[in-house]
Subunit: 305 residues, 2 copies
């Protein structure tokens, strides 16, 4: 039992946890909807509710936490390490606290600072997913991690060299729930269909996304497509705009697509629409592989705190 | 008194009205915050509240209405005429009803349909503002009308040939009120300053606005600017993205900037930043000049309904 850890990805929208035996692999996983961050150690009580019997049954298993719980609004601010960063740099910046006789480790985020002041960027949580992918495949690659705030990362020599965030998922939510476009959008979910492909095509237009978004309303008024198609069209516009923008700064033929859930299939379709070869490692477990890698390194080297 | 009309621009966010003597000019103007549209003629009661004594003092003065009140969600659906359209085409499509012994005229919107299915667009209200500008100056020009949904129009031979909508104002509102960026934005208003110019510069980046928006959070976390500067930076990003996109499809050296309010000064600064010559006709009265031109044409030709 000495080799068990509890690995937790505590993000802004949900919490995923894994009881992990470092020698054998996953013992069990838990997925939980978002929980608000509270003050300091009170977060541990929330974690008790999420993790059920794990904390009682594995009294000395260390907790490894990544994601927004390590932000300045979270439990312990683990800060950010600068690009280029890989397992070594992230490991060296892990923050540790003791709580009820157990070590709790907070993984730092990563920041990317360009010399000219442009392209400043931050990520927190995705760096551990990327570590999980790197651990399995050290080849140079460009990764796409779709989400509320999609991340694109350039990995070379097993380090994240640079990355870019796109507010794609959040824009989709804001446009479909709060903007004038909500009147044109039925409540169904986007899917791969003709309207999705039309959105991908329009996203390439030189006029840009601020204008193409409004075309949804014009096309609705003009009866160009049914309200059921509008979510797919909007999704196509936004995914296409993300991919076009990313390729402008990261020309490539191949993409490693990381994540889980239905949206990943739409991203794969969209990436192939842009002519890219797509590989899909198991995104669901990547973050736990990353946390496991940090825990193994702690076994051999120890974390200074 | 026979030459009086009441001209009303009844939009989605506010109502502006003008008591107009077609021979002499403006007698008075009223500005009123948004009023919800109700069913059919009940809108007249709302109008009575807005217009005060005008309807009683000028019992037979016809009402000329443009804007969202003539949409399918409004009072009378005046439909859309197709580009290219100028005073003649818009005049021919005006809808008329009789109410309490008075003629009420609804100005149609304009739609723009590109042959390839792309660039479908609609406007309602702005076409009358543009008519007002054209009546004063018939030279070929490109017009920019900032707003919640900014419009850019190509005018040749005194007709609107083509136009494009940008959701700039709405995006600003959504991002600053509902998105994760709201945590980085103080409640003050945007202004022309270094952060505004930085936003304009970043808007030109090939990576696109979906990514540049998130840079606001990264720069906030990195302490690159004060929270007071964030609204100006966001405004610069969005205005710059609009202008860049518009110039991609409408290369030009000169712009006619139409509108009123504080945001017009920011647009002038932004347009000049992109190297354009800017002329500013009186945007506040353009819509009333346009409605007056339609009323004068009605005097000589009559509206068929």
């Amino acid at each position: 039992m000495a080799n068990n850890i509890i690995a937790v990805d505590w993000g802004g929208t949900h919490v995923r946890a894994c009881l992990l035996d470092l020698d054998i692999g996953e013992i069990g996983t838990i997925r939980h909807e978002k929980i608000a961050y509270v003050k300091g150690d009170e977060n541990f009580d929330n974690l008790k509710n999420i993790l059920g019997d794990w904390l009682r049954d594995y009294q000395h298993a260390p907790l490894y936490l990544c994601g927004m719980i390590g932000s300045r609004e979270g439990w312990v601010d683990a800060g950010y390490v600068e690009c280029p960063s890989g397992l070594d740099e992230i490991f060296d910046a892990v923050k540790i606290i003791e709580h009820e006789g157990r070590g709790i480790y907070f993984i730092p985020g990563i920041k990317s600072l360009a010399n000219d002041g442009l392209y400043d960027d931050v990520m927190r949580g995705e760096e551990t997913q990327i570590l999980g992918v790197i651990v399995r495949d050290r080849a140079t690659q460009i990764l796409c991690l779709p989400g509320t705030h999609s991340k694109w990362a350039i990995v070379e020599n097993a380090k994240i060299q640079q990355f870019y965030t796109f507010m794609t998922g959040e824009l989709y939510k804001l446009m479909s729930q709060y903007s004038i476009l909500r009147y044109s959008i039925a409540s169904n979910r986007p899917k791969v269909c003709d309207a999705f492909h039309l959105g991908l095509t329009e996203a390439k237009a030189d006029i840009g996304i601020l204008s193409r978004l409004f075309s949804l309303r014009a096309m609705d008024i003009g009866g160009k497509f049914a309200a059921n198609d509008a979510p797919s069209y909007l999704s196509g516009l936004l995914l296409g705009s993300e991919i076009q923008g990313a390729l402008n700064v990261m020309p490539t033929q191949s993409i490693t697509l990381v994540g889980d859930g239905a949206q990943i299939d739409m991203y794969e379709t969209a990436l192939k629409f842009f002519g890219l070869n797509v590989s899909r490692p198991d995104g669901d477990t990547a973050v736990f592989i990353g946390l496991g890698a940090i825990a193994r390194m702690n076994k051999t080297r120890g974390i200074s705190g």
